[in-house]
């Protein structure tokens, strides 16, 4: 169990390189409503684009789950193991609970995970405990974990296209809002799938399919398949708050669809950083930890 914990948490935390650079932090972004003391007024009305829809643009961070809550969810052994490698910038308490376990809200015995999928997860965990995470190729952590760890995301809403930029790994998603539909079949599945969006009143609904099935949904190794379809509902409650509801439908791995809700807070006057595959220092230490 100890090895499993260190493998999985190591995979989540180490497959990211170092956030290298920052600039323009605390730059007063034009157009942000402010209080008398110059702080951004986070409870102001959500802004709108020229076409009248809410403007989701901004740098957003999920509401992280406290160390105490992580301890309750993961248990003291896994939490303490993770705390030993509390890497700067990726400290425990800066992630969302669903990055650790996307099925965290389900009671024992009520999990939608199919038994055969649970078995595959266990086999993958065993393989990871034999093989250092650093021997695996540095590929995207994937959806949705890419946006649930310690790094923020940036939404850029352009006409007909909304971009989600992940600070983690420098990856991005393109969400087309130009009326195109998802293809019935995907001849080239992708890590982040293919996304189309539309507006229902003030809620931006994004449908994504075409995942490649090569990544996992969380640090507990819950799988995804190429059949998975994801529906996201973005609602900018006010200037400083974005509510995100994500529904996963993957009948190959789960007996029924399930939904998570992840509130995000605006990081006003901030930006995402450049992040590339450089200056990795952790693998050697993790290898040592695993052989103990």
């Amino acid at each position: 169990m100890k090895q499993w914990a260190s493998s999985v948490l190591g995979l989540l935390f180490v497959s990211s390189a170092v956030v290298t650079h920052a600039q323009w932090l605390n730059y007063k972004t034009p157009g942000v409503p402010r209080t008398a003391d110059g702080k951004s007024k986070l409870d102001a009305l959500a802004p709108r684009t020229l076409d009248g829809h809410p403007d989701l643009s901004g740098v957003w961070m999920h509401e992280p789950t406290s160390v105490e809550e992580v301890r309750r969810l993961l248990g003291p052994e896994r939490t303490d193991e993770g705390l030993k490698t509390n890497a700067p910038g990726m400290e425990f308490g800066t992630q969302h609970k669903y990055a650790f376990n996307i099925l965290a809200d389900f009671k024992p015995g009520d999990s939608p995970l199919r038994p055969e999928s649970a078995k595959r997860s266990q086999e993958l965990a065993a393989a990871l405990s034999r093989e250092a995470p650093c021997s695996l190729p540095d590929v995207p952590i994937g959806f949705p974990s890419q946006g649930l760890l310690s790094e923020p995301i940036k939404i850029v809403q352009a006409p007909r296209l909304t971009m989600i930029l992940y600070e983690l790994g420098g990856h991005y998603r393109q969400i087309y809002v130009d009326g195109r539909r998802l293809p019935a079949e995907f001849n080239l599945p992708a890590y982040f799938g293919y996304s189309v969006g539309h507006w229902e009143s003030d809620t931006f609904i994004v449908e994504t399919a075409g995942f490649n099935g090569k990544t996992i949904l969380d640090g507990s190794l819950h799988p995804e398949s190429e059949q998975m379809r994801v529906t996201e509902r973005f609602h900018r409650r006010d200037f400083g708050h974005l509510d995100l509801e994500i529904t996963f439908n993957d009948q190959k791995n789960y007996t029924r669809p399930f939904t998570i809700r992840v509130p995000h807070n605006l990081l006003a006057d901030e930006d995402i950083f450049e992040m590339f595959n450089e200056n990795e220092k952790d693998c050697a230490h993790i290898g040592k930890a695993q052989t103990k």
């Binding site: 290298t20 323009w24 850029v156 995907f186 080239l188 992708a190 293919y194 595959n277």
Partner: protein, 285 residues
């Protein structure tokens, strides 16, 4: 640098390392999807000579998927020798890259711009390193001069330049902010843009000195200042003038002009450098 050296294509191994250090383009969809709002001829093809589109604020809209004009192979053979044809890794064919990807200074008369002593030391160091990138980014402007396309997404206040190569996204702020005075060096630098009539002028500073300007290995320093002038001539053509000012590495600034061609009804593809890499083992032999 002498012309003979420039033409003899001595950086064979270095270029091979650069070309092969990339992973594969993994995925594609919606290629050939007819994009709404694009002027078309009667047969449904995009009218590439139609007037450049404009955004709601009246500026030219640079948005689109672009690929650099690639000179015929014969021209590259003339410039770099017949050996250049040998470099055709699948997906990284030399036929599909700009001549400036190989050597940014190729058009300049011999001796007009030369490397400083520090620049000479840097290029020697880079060439000795060989397979330099190891999935680190190609940087600016090389990311837009290779086989892969790039996509510009223009919004009010911010323009994204998304490189398919290495999945890099540059942010160009057009919200009036000044360039940082003492930036922390980075791979893509820090960019601000302003409109000079119908030309977008982009100033970038804050590069690190870890990347190269071209496959020849021309270096850059942290002091480099990079100015781009984007002019969308019509729907199908984007002219970009690039001026490199790096007194630490070069005896004077130099300018290169490229044209990017609209890849209508196309898209950038997901790119994961570390996936399915097969070349390094062969390079070691």
């Amino acid at each position: 640098m002498s012309s003979s050296i420039r033409r003899s294509f001595v950086v064979v191994t270095f270029i091979a390392g650069l070309l092969s250090a990339n992973g594969v383009l993994t995925s594609a969809q919606w290629l050939n999807y007819p994009i709404p709002g694009v002027p078309r001829t009667k047969d449904g093809k995009v009218d590439l000579t139609a007037k450049a589109p404009r955004t709601a604020d009246g500026h030219p809209n640079l948005s689109g998927v672009w690929h650099v004009y690639s000179e015929p192979l014969e021209e590259k053979k003339r410039l770099y020798g017949a050996e250049v044809a040998a470099f055709s890794v699948l997906g990284d064919q030399v036929t599909d890259i700009s001549k400036y990807a190989i050597n940014l200074l190729t058009d300049l008369p011999t001796g007009e711009v030369t490397l400083t002593s520090e620049g000479k030391a840097a290029i020697n160091r880079i060439r000795q390193a060989g397979d330099l990138p190891r999935c680190l980014p190609f940087g600016v402007p090389l990311g837009t001069l290779m086989t892969q396309v790039h996509k510009i997404v223009q919004t009010s206040g911010l323009i994204l330049v998304m490189h398919e190569l290495d999945s890099m996204t540059r942010q160009i702020y057009t919200d009036g902010r000044p360039l940082p005075v003492d930036p922390s060096p980075s791979w893509l630098g820090y960019s601000v843009g302003r409109w000079d009539r119908d030309t977008l002028v982009v100033e970038t500073v804050g590069f690190n000195d870890k990347s190269v300007l071209d496959l020849f290995g021309h270096p850059r320093s942290e002091a480099m200042r990079f100015t781009e002038r984007y002019h969308r001539r019509d729907v199908g053509h984007l002219d970009v003038e690039m001026t490199f000012d790096d007194a630490k590495m070069y005896t004077k600034p130099f300018t290169v002009n490229v044209t990017h061609l609209l890849q209508a009804d196309s898209d950038i593809l997901e790119y994961v450098c570390n996936e399915n890499e097969k070349d390094r083992e062969h390079l070691k032999r």
